[in-house]
């Protein structure tokens, strides 16, 4: 079965696209031996992430079963999860702005 995205751990709330995906598409997401389906609300380029669950402002983002950052806004299911709605807990090196260690 062809898949569209991979999630890496049961606690992950984002998956990574392994193809260029289009808004409105039902994406097939592989998690280990299981698959689930997510209706996409935005185009998701190859290698980019989208949400698997509704996420609230400040909620931690999980990939590999680990925290990769937190939401800077509420995010619905099937949305592009990237720098416009996720921030690092370690500061954004490329922006050299605030050092946020909380």
């Amino acid at each position: 079965m062809a898949i569209d995205a991979i999630a890496l751990h049961t606690t992950d709330n984002v998956a990574t696209a392994v193809q260029d995906l289009k808004v409105g598409q039902e994406a097939t997401v592989r998690l280990n031996h299981d698959v689930c389906h997510i209706i996409l609300q935005e185009d998701i380029p190859y290698g980019h992430k989208f949400t698997l669950k509704p996420i609230q402002l400040g909620e931690k983002i999980f990939k590999y079963g680990e925290i990769i950052g937190r939401a800077t806004t509420d995010i619905g299911v099937g949305y592009h999860a990237h720098i416009q709605n996720i921030e690092s807990l370690r500061g954004r090196g490329d922006l050299k702005t605030k050092e946020d260690e909380s």
Binding site: I3, I6, T16, V18, N32, E66, H82, L89, D94
Partner: protein
């Protein structure tokens, strides 16, 4: 699960059975290369160190050459020196002999030049290879495997397929009583707090933080901030959002096993299980460090296709990229791109990696070995050349 290996007198187990021809110093590399070119069954270690360096670095050269000589994939060793190097030859020779191995030593300035040394060493190596070839493989449990892990020339697929699959293989090996070694400290930056959470105790966690701090300070000493500017603009365009995410893609190789200890570069672990070793990410230095740490197999994940191998430790190349499989077919041993296509899963791919490592450990040759693309080696130095 068992593999077929070579028993060594100090209790370690080899997956290969070479006579090692080791350079004591950069100046004799040509001699070593000529010997190895002539005598089948030998493997070389050449490098660019051993003279005109700080005592700290000479100490690392002594320690690393000794540890390489003790690597279980070497049956016996011929050390070639020039005669005026800073390397402590007594320390290296005695250190290797302590493992029960035969060590011979030729000095170019005493033997009478490169030609005579090469001729004498060739005759000596012939008898030693014959002696080595009499030894047969025996079955050993996979707890005798010491696995080195590395990724290089990575792309988007690396953090999604081969690295997490190596994590599965490493977890399976550790569960079976084996050892696996994670290096590439530069790749920890941004996720070191997460890696430290996997440490078995506070001392090990602190050790992980200290390795990262040391690496950063060394770069800072020459004015480079290696944490700043991460993830890069290119990373963000490719879909990586935070530095934690970028580093986790590489650290995924470590799987979920607890980290038992932290070691200096090229030091053999005295515990079983998953351990961390100080090393940079660049291939010659990390492959050498893993070999010195006693690795008898190495697994190497790549996205774009990395060709490097090591002279006497097999390096298994795996990728999740269909493009790399097609364009770099002479270098890639395992094709995991079916995980991306949907026909395979990471847990199953991880099991296959372990089975392939067992086959490689039992004598199946890697593409790098068959091709002879096995000369990625050098010793990781701290100070200046003087």
């Amino acid at each position: 699960m068992n593999f077929m290996g070579y028993r060594r007198k100090n209790g370690t187990v080899g997956t290969r059975n070479y006579v090692g021809i080791l350079s004591a110093v950069v100046c004799v590399n040509e001699v070593v290369e000529n010997i190895v070119r002539q005598v089948q069954g030998t493997a070389r270690f050449t490098h660019h160190q051993g003279c005109c360096q700080t005592m700290l670095d000479i100490g690392i050269v002594n320690r690393t050459l000794t540890a390489l000589g003790k690597n279980p994939n070497l049956h016996s060793v011929i050390l070639i020196s020039l005669g005026c190097e800073s390397t402590n030859l007594t320390e290296v020779i005695e250190g290797i002999r302590n493992s029960g191995k035969r060590v011979e030593h030729l000095v170019v300035q005493e033997t009478g030049g490169a030609t005579r040394t090469t001729a004498e060493a060739i005759l000596l190596a012939q008898t030693m290879v014959h002696e080595a070839s009499l030894q047969e493989r025996e079955p050993f449990p996979i707890s005798e495997l010491v696995l080195g892990m590395k990724c290089g020339s990575s792309d988007t697929t690396s953090g999604l397929v081969p690295n997490p699959a190596i994590g599965v293989a490493s977890d399976l090996l550790v569960a079976a009583g084996g050892t696996s070694i994670l290096g590439e400290v530069t790749e920890f930056i941004g996720a070191e707090h997460i890696l430290a959470n996997h440490a078995v105790n506070e001392t090990v966690a602190q050790g992980i933080f200290e390795l990262v701090e040391r690496m950063e300070k060394r770069a800072m000493a020459v004015g480079e901030d290696i944490r700043g500017g991460q993830p890069t603009g290119g990373n963000i365009k490719g879909g990586l959002t935070t530095i934690e995410e970028k580093s986790l893609g590489a650290i995924a190789k470590a799987g979920t096993a607890p980290i038992q200890a932290v070691y200096e570069y090229g030091v053999r672990p005295t515990v079983k299980g998953l351990v961390v070793m100080d090393s940079p990410g660049r291939e010659p230095e990390i492959l050498t460090g893993l070999a010195a740490a006693g690795c008898n197999v190495i697994v190497f994940a790549t996205g774009r296709g990395a060709p490097q191998g090591f002279p006497f430790v097999p390096v298994l190349k795996i990728t999740g990229s269909r493009t790399a499989v097609e364009k770099m077919s002479d270098h890639i041993d395992m094709d995991l791109s079916a995980v991306i296509d949907g026909g395979d899963t990471i847990p199953d791919a991880g099991e296959r990696i372990l089975k392939e490592l067992v086959r490689i450990g039992s004598g199946t040759m890697t593409k790098a070995e068959i091709f002879g693309y096995v000369n990625s080696m050098d010793i990781y130095m701290q100070g200046p050349v003087i």
